[in-house]
Symmetry: C2
Subunit: 228 residues, 2 copies
């Protein structure tokens, strides 16, 4: 399970923190609303954030047909990165400070999702954002679907890197009388803010979104290491 699927997914720095476990990869992707896509064009390399979601072993994105990025992504391999920052790790020595995080990098080539699968894919996207909402909104019309491109990339060539847990100071530093531990950072779902022009009560699917949060498997929290 912990063998890199390719040369470019081999982790050299902090190798003990690397994982190729598909369940971990899926959990990291599912906990994300956005990814960042690194690609190149005539002007150089770019890293552009965009919304993402998963179905099976593919990660999906969407955009306008005219998007420069989407056009380039059919022509070349790219790298999709997702990062969740979970905390600052305060050690007894300056250089042992690090961060707790869950990250995934996916390499490969996006392909355009055909017309027949596009509507299901965008329904999956809505279900990822706010489960239960799709049936309550005005669905896309033919013109809107025609103007939109959906693309997917296989999750087969991917690597996760996770750091969790307390600091790991050198033995020589353990007697330093300085507080050490983790300062947690969490993405929290706040109280819904109604559109000023909306007087309807907050519906069940929105209340559910606030209360449900996203769980993350304990297995992802077992690794330890140091970044710096």
């Amino acid at each position: 399970m912990n063998t890199a699927p390719s040369l470019r997914t081999q982790v050299k720095r902090g190798a003990p923190k690397a994982s190729y476990d598909p369940a971990l990869l899926h959990a990291i992707v599912d906990a994300a609303y956005i990814c960042q896509i690194a690609f190149a064009d005539a002007h150089g390399v770019h890293g552009i954030p965009t919304a993402c979601w998963r179905r099976g072993d593919d990660l999906y994105i969407h955009g306008s047909n005219g998007s420069r990025m989407l056009q380039r992504l059919t022509e070349q391999d790219c790298c999709v990165t997702i990062t969740h920052l979970d905390g600052l790790v305060l050690a007894r020595s300056a250089f042992s400070h690090t961060m707790n995080y869950r990250s995934a990098m996916v390499y490969g080539r996006f392909e355009v999702v055909g017309e027949s699968a596009k509507r299901q894919a965008l329904a999956d996207f809505m279900a990822h954002l706010v489960p239960g909402r799709q049936a309550l909104v005005r669905p896309g019309n033919d013109k809107e679907f025609a103007a939109t491109t959906v693309m997917r990339i296989s999750l087969a060539e991917a690597v996760c890197k996770v750091r969790s847990g307390p600091p790991t100071d050198d033995e020589d530093d353990m007697d330093i009388a300085t507080w050490a531990g983790v300062l947690p950072l969490t993405q929290v779902r706040g109280t819904p803010v109604p559109d000023p022009q909306c007087t309807l009560p907050v519906p069940g699917h929105v209340r559910d979104w606030v209360t449900s949060g996203r769980s993350f498997p304990a297995s992802a929290r077992r690794n330890r290491g140091r970044c710096r």
Copy 2:
């Protein structure tokens, strides 16, 4: 103030959401602990998350001297991306759904920070993470500093993109009886978790970190637009 400094920082999609205001750029960088760096090597393009901080008009990163990424970054231009996701924007029609966010993309070439400035730069890094901590930890020794590379990139060639506020449905969709509004997402600082081997009380600089949070100028929240 709203003129792109270069061809590659011109925003084509959602141009009204673009800004070249240095104060906004500084605020977005200062609110971040990590950035993602897009660069290329013989294996293709990569997007790698790494810790960052700002001093003046430069963004700083650091790493091991042996880091593949740091070595490549002196040889080529790259793109540094920071993204803060602020909420999901629920509209009355499926295709008017979008997200609220603050993002920045910085283009250019990193340069290595010389030995004389390296120690101050890493002290700045600690002050960015947890103000007041530097004097309380075992500082770096000559060996640790010698093994670490600090790099900086000018913020001169950069573009910010911000979306905030309620959804913007088409006029024809305003009568649809579906709740519309924003589901806020916020990075929250949690209760410090002491190292199991640490029995010291939580010190003032850690308590201050929890309570201070990071402010963000109201000017960054004025823009509206639609992403999809």
